[in-house]
């Protein structure tokens, strides 16, 4: 605590604040001006010189009931397929870490198959399922009890689109979850095992909750990616989501560009909302991580700042060199070691 110069007397002397002249950053200003000018030129040009943008059309169709309905389908496809993909992805990742080699192999083969083929091809295949497998027969072996179902009645294109998107996405989610599981310190697993927790409890109560912190940011990325991948379900063919619907409208109006702008605006709006949601989710799962708030104060605080007010009964106090009584701040300095 002793200063290199000066004795006891100037222990509490306030050091003079530094009044430095701030560095100038002229190039930042120049760059900003250039970009603003370029952007203004682009906007002016787009607004007045390009009839192909047809802005009145954009305004007319932005809140068209057909478009709004299509957004509903896009959101449904995104949400349902992501929920299935996350559940299946967690399952596949946990299977991959399982001590059971059969279960491990199943997970690996799934990943190999669904990650190794394009989603567009997979969606096309799902559309053909009702043609390739016209009926499903469920029966109890060696008895006559048989139920035959027609796949066409069972699986609509809407359901098939969700299945197709979800099963493909599950393969990617599995890798994201696996990365999260691997990021959790080995000591956590050991501590849980030493307490006598079984594999399942260790996984669900100790490892997975901590893996969430690593899993959520890329999952947010996947949700946004899924929102846009829904535009491929025309391959099934499911029609009615945003991209297909705007294309159908454009086919009638002969003005494709304004409809593309309408769709882009809505994709951007939804993505922005999703990003806000992700921020709060990340905050929730950062619980208990973060810094020690009361220890991270600058260490000079204990020297120059005195805690004002009355000490709680039992709270330790100390006498300053000038005779004042101060309260010992909780955790002064690093370490602490309890009161």
């Amino acid at each position: 605590m002793s200063h290199p110069t000066g004795g006891v007397d100037d222990q509490h002397a306030e050091p003079e604040a530094i009044q430095a002249i701030r560095r100038k950053h002229p190039w930042r200003f120049v760059l900003a001006v250039v970009l603003v000018v370029l952007a203004a030129l682009f906007v002016y040009d787009a607004a007045f010189n390009r009839p192909v943008f047809a802005w009145p059309e954009v305004g007319k169709y932005l809140f068209d009931t057909r478009i709004i309905g299509a957004i509903g389908y896009t959101l449904q496809l995104t949400v349902y397929s992501m929920i299935i993909a996350i559940v299946l992805g967690v399952l596949l990742a946990v299977m991959r870490q399982s001590p059971n080699p059969v279960v491990k192999a199943v997970s690996w083969v799934y990943l190999w198959l669904f990650r190794g083929t394009p989603v567009y091809v997979q969606l096309t295949f799902w559309g053909l399922v009702t043609v390739i497998y016209k009926t499903i027969t469920i029966g109890i072996p060696f008895t006559d009890a048989v139920v035959t179902l027609t796949t066409k009645d069972l699986l609509s294109y809407y359901t098939l689109a969700i299945i197709g998107l979800a099963l493909n996405e599950a393969a990617y989610m599995a890798e994201i979850v696996r990365a999260g599981l691997l990021a959790v310190d080995k000591g956590q697993d050991e501590a849980a095992t030493a307490l006598g927790l079984g594999w399942w409890h260790t996984m669900t109560r100790v490892v997975l909750p901590q893996a969430m912190r690593v899993i959520i940011p890329p999952t947010g990325n996947e949700v946004i990616s899924m929102l846009k991948t829904t535009s491929l379900v025309a391959a099934v063919p499911f029609i009615g989501e945003l991209f297909t619907r705007q294309r159908d409208i454009a086919a009638v109006t002969y003005q494709p560009v304004p409809m593309l702008i309408v769709a882009s605006i809505w994709y951007l709006v939804i993505t922005s909302i999703l990003m806000v949601g992700q921020y709060y989710l990340e905050k929730h799962f950062a619980k208990g991580i973060g810094q020690r708030p009361d220890v991270q104060r600058p260490s000079v605080a204990t020297e120059t700042i005195t805690v004002v007010g009355e000490a709680e009964p039992g709270h330790p106090t100390y006498t300053e060199e000038d005779g004042r009584t101060s309260i010992v701040p909780p955790h002064s300095g690093t370490g602490g070691g309890g009161r």
């Binding site: 001590p99 030493a194 307490l195 690093t334 070691g337 309890g338």
Partner: protein, 259 residues
Amino acid sequence: MTETLTGTPMVRAEAISKSYGSNEVLKSISLEVKRGEVLCLVGPSGSGKSTFLRCINHLETINAGRLWVDGELVGYRQHGDKIYEMHPKEAAKQRRDIGMVFQRFNLFPHKTALENVMMAPTLLKKGSKTALQSRAMELLARVGLADRHDYYPAHLSGGQQQRVAIARALAMDPKLMLFDEPTSALDPELVGEVLDVMKGLAESGMTMIVVTHEMGFAKQVADKLVFMDGGVVVESGDPVEVLTNPQRERTKAFLSKVL
């Protein structure tokens, strides 16, 4: 005390060997820990003392020999002269009677101090939540941290974290406590508070095996000291005797470095 010292020993190791590939870390270790006894394991790093400790609660499997805790074979079942691997569930059940404290604390960072202590009892024990909670609070009070029950580990000092870890290990009412270098990751000024808690635990009659470099603690608290080097027990006996008057050259060489 004499009452608890009789009967089957708490831990009995008979010619235990353990190797990783061709690297033999434990070479025919035999020792016994009686009920209520505190055993300190000392030795240079890489001497196999931590590995031996981890064999006792089956975090590591042994390659040869036999190991009993409270008269029960650890990790295996014996029928006639055949040895069967234990079902993981049975092994987990065995571990509930053995508490373990780690060098790096290994508290669950997403749980508060109280939640850390309560986790295993909540999942594995019967009883109302309030009963389990008051029991957990008792344990935190025992390690002097009742007022820190709602702190996350990241908001506690190293010494406090290790004391919570001790309370957590005690939560399943173990009959044996294993300590794997419990103070080695701590700042010097925080070592004392953890050793105090361990001393109190020893005085309450808990059977303990402590891997440590704290010779003062060994001298003061241990009933028996075992010096290991190169995977074998070099010397063992009364801690004061071994530390002040070592018989073997290897023990002398080691102690001259650490004392």
